[in-house]
């Protein structure tokens, strides 16, 4: 569980959760300059199955 803090007491009962900065960013967007999306950043989409089947443990 995440450590919970109550930084706003006694002014409000709603709690906030402190999430320490992570090494790996949870941000799934990447800077891809693509004409298709007319955007310099698009979400990373991942193919749903292997493109070829050469890699095996």
């Amino acid at each position: 569980m995440q450590p919970e803090t109550t930084p706003f007491l006694p002014l409000t009962i709603q709690r906030a959760v402190f999430r320490p900065r992570k090494e790996k960013s949870p941000d799934l967007t990447v800077k891809i300059s693509s004409s298709l999306y007319q955007s310099k950043r698009v979400n990373q989409q991942v193919i749903h199955r292997p493109i070829s089947q050469m890699i095996k443990k």
Binding site: T6, I13, Q14, A16, R19, P20, L28, Q38, Q45
Partner: protein
């Protein structure tokens, strides 16, 4: 020309753009941060305007809004300065004018609204839902410890959640974010002052499952979320469990409930949005809230709805 206003991270925008490209439909994507040049002239002969207002066959305000302040503002003023907020307020007048004009011109070939999101009010919405005979959780908002204690005593199982937007406070060592929906009891009041900022509490509604509905123009797509089995998500499915995701399955809303949701949407002046419902152990549907610009990619993907295709088609066939 179809125009989509969105955030750069929005995956549904990306996916919809693909279908529009496939149909070779001229499309323009406006990122919410990209400054737009505009002109509005109003005189005794009439008024004229240019910029994002003109030349659209359909306009979809997916996330955020058009930006009319030059990007160089950051060079002059920090976001925290009052002058920044002053300029933003002026900008809202422009945005509001542009949205109003556009809606008039496009005559319903326009979906979503920044101002609908901005004025979205959980309390008013609960009253609107009640007025169309949807069940709602008993709710209280107060700044008094005494009133809060009374509510908790009366309803026993009580939850609190954000009244408006979630907390998001980035810092050097990490980020403070809302804890989402949490249960509270009388003991939680000990640390509180006698008066405090508004607290939003509701009776905790027990559930068989939750329902997320995405409404777009004339169609509803629903998904049932089984969060009850998982301690981590029992109070709110947004406390995600990544390793063992909640079961999310397609759901067919009964016509009587669907028709109430449409009545609600009409009263709330929304043409799109995501509605959260609870399905109780007694088989009743309870309205929780609407998010005019909510995320729906996870709904589309879990239920295999291909909402990106549906949305692109609704623009090109309209």
């Amino acid at each position: 020309m179809i125009t989509i206003v969105s955030e750069e991270q929005d995956i549904m925008t990306d996916l919809t753009m693909e279908w529009l490209a496939r149909r070779k439909t001229p499309t323009r994507r406006i990122q919410n941060y990209e400054p737009q040049t505009f002109r509005i002239e109003i005189d005794n002969g009439g008024s004229s305007a240019a910029g994002p207002i003109s030349g659209n066959s359909h306009y979809w305000t997916r996330r955020g809004k058009e930006n009319y302040i030059p990007a160089t503002i950051d060079h002059h003023f920090s976001e925290n300065l009052p002058v920044y907020r002053y300029l933003e307020q002026d900008e809202l007048v422009v945005s509001s004018y542009v949205e109003t004009k556009r809606k008039q011109q496009l005559n319903h070939h326009d979906t979503g609204s920044f101002f609908a999101e901005k004025k979205n009010n959980k309390l008013i919405n609960l009253e609107l839902a009640k007025s169309v005979h949807l069940l709602i959780p008993p709710t209280c908002v107060t700044n008094s410890k005494k009133v809060l204690a009374q509510f908790i005593r009366r309803h026993k199982q009580v939850i609190t959640k954000d009244l408006c937007a979630p907390v998001y406070l980035p810092g050097d060592k990490g980020t403070l974010t809302s804890s989402g929906v949490i249960s509270i009891g009388l003991s939680d009041l000990d640390a509180m002052a006698d008066n405090f900022a508004a607290v939003f509490v509701q009776e905790n509604i027990s559930k068989q499952f939750e329902i997320r509905c995405f409404l777009f123009r004339k169609t509803i797509f629903s998904m049932a979320i089984f969060s009850q089995n998982d301690q981590q998500t029992t109070t709110d499915f947004r406390n995600y469990n990544d390793a063992r995701p909640n079961r999310c399955v397609p759901f067919q809303l009964p016509p009587s409930i669907a028709s109430k949701l449409w009545k609600f949407m009409a009263l709330a002046e929304l043409d799109t949005g995501s509605i959260d419902l609870i399905y109780t152990p007694e088989g009743e549907f309870v309205f929780l809230e609407v998010n005019p610009m909510g995320q729906f990619h996870w709904l589309s993907e879990n239920c295999n709805y291909y909402l990106e295709h549906f949305i692109a088609d609704s623009f090109t066939n309209a």
